[in-house]
Symmetry: C2
Subunit: 228 residues, 2 copies
Amino acid sequence: MSLSYRLHHHPLDPASRRVRLAMAEKKIPFEAIVEKPWDPRPAFLQLSPDGDVPVLVIEGAQDSFVLASSNAICEYFEETSEAPSLLGSDAATHAEVRRLVHWFEVKMYLQCTALILGEKAYKRLEGRGEPDSHILRAGHHNIHGHLEYITWLTEQRNWLAGDAITLADLAAAAQLSCIDYVNDVPWDRHVQAKEWYARIKSRPCFRSLLGDHVAGLMPPKSYADLDF
Amino acid sequence: MSLSYRLHHHPLDPASRRVRLAMAEKKIPFEAIVEKPWDPRPAFLQLSPDGDVPVLVIEGAQDSFVLASSNAICEYFEETSEAPSLLGSDAATHAEVRRLVHWFEVKMYLQCTALILGEKAYKRLEGRGEPDSHILRAGHHNIHGHLEYITWLTEQRNWLAGDAITLADLAAAAQLSCIDYVNDVPWDRHVQAKEWYARIKSRPCFRSLLGDHVAGLMPPKSYADLDF
């Protein structure tokens, strides 16, 4: 049975980035369609009533169905793809991966990515005025704890959740790559976290992210540089 | 192999409630320990560096390990328990369940539960002053959309994600039961959502939640009433 995949996403949405990384890591080809969640097309609202991304449309010969939310999409491929697992090898590791995915995709997102990207990227894209320096400062303050946590994890383990790369690494890298797009990751103060990021940034799954260009908001040169 | 389970939770934390419902639905006995995430005990910080709940400690004859975050804990029992699945019967249903879990546990939480409970419960418990009426009003406004969504889902399906009860129902009921504890669910305006809630409220898995009493914050009589 031949299936085709169409991913509706936004380049600066970290949950969308996690899905793009996971599908690329599993070598599942897909068509990518950029949506503006803040100004959704009527046709996209048919798929996603609130305009949320990511949404994946899976089309078979006779039928199609729609998956939404990064967890639903990533776990779907864990269940259905024969590519190496991104959840680790046993139930305890799966739990550790899911704990870390929640940590980065919910906690770090709310404490850092939503604040920094909200002020420096979404506000500009949505025409909502100038960045609020207080909000930005909170995001910049909070990011150190998350980079220290990545440092601590990589002192215990090869990758964030254990010996192999997992969805936990992809979730953390998805957040950081969005913040890196606006040049706000203090890499120089977190050398070991930077080494982990350099390892994941040089993987083939990362290539499409490094080619992202959002109109009206160019990334710094270091964003796509593997020797940053 | 005999394992024992110790769940660290807070009665008014909806993610903790989802875990309690899921473990009770699967008939897995556990010891429940109430934590104050805003003022964590040093011993609890050893398990959960930020004081976050829920945390589950699994103790075997020779070893113990720690699971954190509601997704990690609920999915762990999907993988390891022989009780009927709370994820549905096939990969597409699993994805729909996980989409809805995210919808209720992240989106509804941030738009409703965190606002209403934050102002009416956590502020009082933490001694942080009086409720902010603007924040409360936003939570009260947003809850209608979520109750309408539950109504719409139950018009298509027996339970929120399909024919059988799943983690999606438990996630939605966990949010609503917290808001119901402070008497702020407008049931009268959402009769069909109320019927769905009455069905889940009368299940044995709900009994422990209906017995919750937080010191200094009594629930209304209707909270534990099955004929509310």
